[in-house]
């Protein structure tokens, strides 16, 4: 399995998929293969955090995982293919239609085993509140690219307070426009300017660190 972990860590897609096929043919359990893949993904995430890898490399590790899952899924039981680490509700706030950053975070979260409820773009505060109430999520992610959205992020958090849900959910705002100053203004629990920070945040909320 070491070579599979290494192939994913080094972003060698063809090699990684070939190893997975070989392992499955040799009767290795899909569960063990998946575990090795996760180890590789975590290694890529660490290299990204250390500044060794950059965004497109982090994203490509998710692509490799998609290719592997095509091979792996038929061998996995239903329970093993569904996410188990926890639920995350995410969306781009009202007034902003950008979803590139949000989708990168979603791919990463799924790769790391989270169930993600994607509310899409231009999402009004009431929809965030409704989703938090209905899913019982412990994490809400508010995404944005435009710096005109600071007040809207604050509105969502204010609405959560009014609905009596603020204490049951941790809110993280994400996008390059976010900063400690913006976090403080909006009343969020944390902010992220990189996708991997979002994963770390979820791991800490759900106790997977």
């Amino acid at each position: 399995m070491k070579e599979l972990v290494a192939a994913i860590t080094n972003l060698e897609e063809e090699a990684a998929v070939a190893i997975v096929e070989k392992k499955l043919q040799a009767g290795v359990s899909a569960h063990d293969v998946l575990a090795a893949c996760n180890e590789g993904l975590i290694a890529v995430g660490d290299l990204f955090s250390e500044g060794e890898y950059f965004l497109t490399e982090l994203m490509f590790s998710g692509e490799i995982m998609n290719s592997i899952m095509e091979k792996l899924t038929p061998y996995l039981s239903a329970g093993e293919t569904t996410a188990t680490k926890g639920k995350v509700v995410i969306g781009t706030v009202l007034g902003d239609i950008h979803d590139v950053g949000k989708n990168i975070v979603i791919n990463l979260l799924k790769g790391h085993g989270y169930e993600v409820i994607d509310l899409g773009i231009d999402v009004p505060a009431a929809e965030f509140v409704k989703a938090v109430r209905e899913t019982g999520t412990k994490v809400l992610g508010l995404s944005a690219l435009l710096n005109s959205t600071y007040p809207e992020m604050k509105t969502v958090i204010d609405e959560l307070k009014k609905a009596g849900l603020r204490d049951s959910v941790k809110v993280i705002i994400g996008g390059t426009i976010c900063s400690e100053k913006v976090r403080e203004f909006t009343g969020a629990d944390d902010f992220a300017t990189t996708a991997i920070k979002g994963v770390h945040f979820c791991n800490s909320v759900y106790g997977h660190e």
């Binding site: 950059f54 490509f60 435009l146 005109s148 390059t176």
Partner: protein, 456 residues
């Protein structure tokens, strides 16, 4: 122009040009990109400013009456009517698709598929007409219909009208307010063109791993197109810089940057620089990993606008001795901070990055719409307080000594139907002056070619 106004115009332009050339200046240049902020304080919605040229003109007039301290202002009319005429799916339009007060928003997608590189490279016009336009232009979906012909006809006419309106506004601003624009002409980094308009970030990310050679070849093909179109729009006096928004390098590792981004980015800018132009480059996003490369540009040729994520002090360290840097006032500080915080930040930047004229005030690319007016005023006041080097006159605007230098452009025939082909297939006898007809034929061929290539 009145003499006093001409003098003021020369002071502003001279100071700005000298700052870019890294020559002595009397004070920090206030060539601050203020587009969104000027929109916001005009009292008009973004929709009104994009559709109504009188309101766009009034926006400029209002701004410059309020802030005569600025050295440059881009006053043009950014019409968006062509996006309606063609129903461009690349954008969400204020007032049509989204809130009239929102800026126009980009709809990124894989508009070109992974297996379409060959046609894209070999047949740029055919690819657009047959593949790309039917996807991105709603009014061209039913190609060959009367409606689709009308859409192209209207869009061509609209381009001429919008340019003339912009020209009129700029002329008024020059004559009445003695303010030059901050740039003339645009050129994009080929990798950005490929990513933004055709493959999207997800698409290009996969291509860099799965078909790297195709990405490189496509960038080289785009470079030719971008350069040739740019030179036609650039300042013929070679004073105002060409503008470039460099958008996607922040997502790339140094290895990817060196392989995919840098070669055609550098080549394009160097062709312009060697022909005597300067360039104003907005490095969007986080460029911290690529700053060493920026030191390769010759002294006094590039103005770098940095985004919030790039460390302006590190940039100054690497190439501040060669080229002028703008930025360093965080966007969130202007929106949420106090005038005193802004004053302190500007003071720090003038004393460090700008200590020998190497800095122009800016936020992350431009002053945000939500900037508090007292914070924008604080920037201008702090420049007066800390950014004056001497009380003598501003430098005169330098006249280019390279006016006769022709840019080394790649060979590119911009004709879909060459004159020879037209003459032959139409059986024209030409009893008169052929050159007269040919010249005009080719002029409009080139214009139409550029329109198709740059259409989005």
């Amino acid at each position: 122009m009145e003499e006093s106004k001409q003098q003021l115009y020369n002071e502003r332009l001279g100071r700005y040009l000298a700052a870019i050339r890294r020559k002595p200046i009397d004070r920090i240049s206030t060539s601050i990109p203020v587009g969104s902020y000027a929109d916001a304080i005009s009292g008009y919605t973004v929709q009104e400013l994009m559709y109504d040229p009188q309101k766009a003109e009034d926006r400029a007039v209002q701004f410059l009456k309020k802030y005569p301290e600025v050295d440059t202002f881009s006053a043009g009319f950014s019409s968006t009517v062509d996006f309606d005429i063609l129903n461009s799916r690349l954008y969400r339009i204020p007032g049509r698709d989204i809130d009239p007060k929102s800026i126009r928003q980009f709809n990124e997608n894989e508009w070109m598929k992974a297996d379409e590189y060959r046609k894209f490279i070999d047949d740029p016009i055919g690819f657009r007409m047959d593949v790309y336009f039917p996807r991105i232009l709603g009014e061209y979906e039913k190609r060959g219909s009367i409606r689709s012909y009308m859409a192209f006809l209207k869009a061509g006419m609209q381009q001429g009208v919008a340019r003339e309106l912009s020209r009129q506004i700029n002329t008024r601003i020059k004559n009445e307010f003695a303010i030059p624009p901050s740039s003339q002409g645009i050129v994009n980094a080929p990798f950005d063109t490929l990513t933004n308009l055709f493959r999207g970030l997800h698409g290009i990310m996969r291509d860099m791993f799965r078909q790297p050679d195709a990405v490189i070849e496509a960038c080289e093909a785009i470079l030719k197109q971008n350069l040739v179109s740019c030179v036609g729009m650039a300042d013929p006096k070679k004073q105002l810089p060409v503008w470039i928004g460099a958008t996607r390098a922040g997502f790339l590792s140094p290895k990817q940057f060196e392989k995919f981004y840098w070669p055609t980015f550098f080549k394009g800018l160097i062709v312009l620089i060697e022909a005597g132009w300067t360039v104003r480059v907005f490095l969007e996003g986080n460029w911290n990993a690529h700053l060493d490369y920026m030191a390769e540009f010759p002294k006094g040729t590039v103005l770098f606008d940095l985004d919030n994520e790039t460390d302006i002090f590190a940039a100054h360290e690497k190439f501040g001795d060669k080229n002028v840097i703008s930025g360093g006032i965080p966007t969130d500080l202007l929106i949420l901070g106090s005038p005193e915080e802004v004053r302190q930040r500007v003071k720090l930047l003038i004393e460090t990055v700008g200590k020998d004229g190497g800095w122009i005030p800016n936020s992350g690319g431009s002053i945000p719409a939500g900037c508090k007016p007292e914070n924008f005023q604080a920037i201008l006041d702090a420049v007066k307080e800390f950014g004056v080097y001497h009380t003598g006159p501003a430098p005169e605007p330098e006249v280019s000594d390279m006016l006769d230098v022709k840019p080394q452009l790649p060979k590119l025939d911009r004709f879909i139907t060459s004159w020879e082909e037209a003459k032959e297939t139409n059986n024209w006898a030409i009893p008169g002056d052929e050159d007269l007809i040919k010249k005009n034929w080719e002029l409009f061929e080139r214009m139409a070619y550029s329109w198709v290539i740059s259409r989005r």
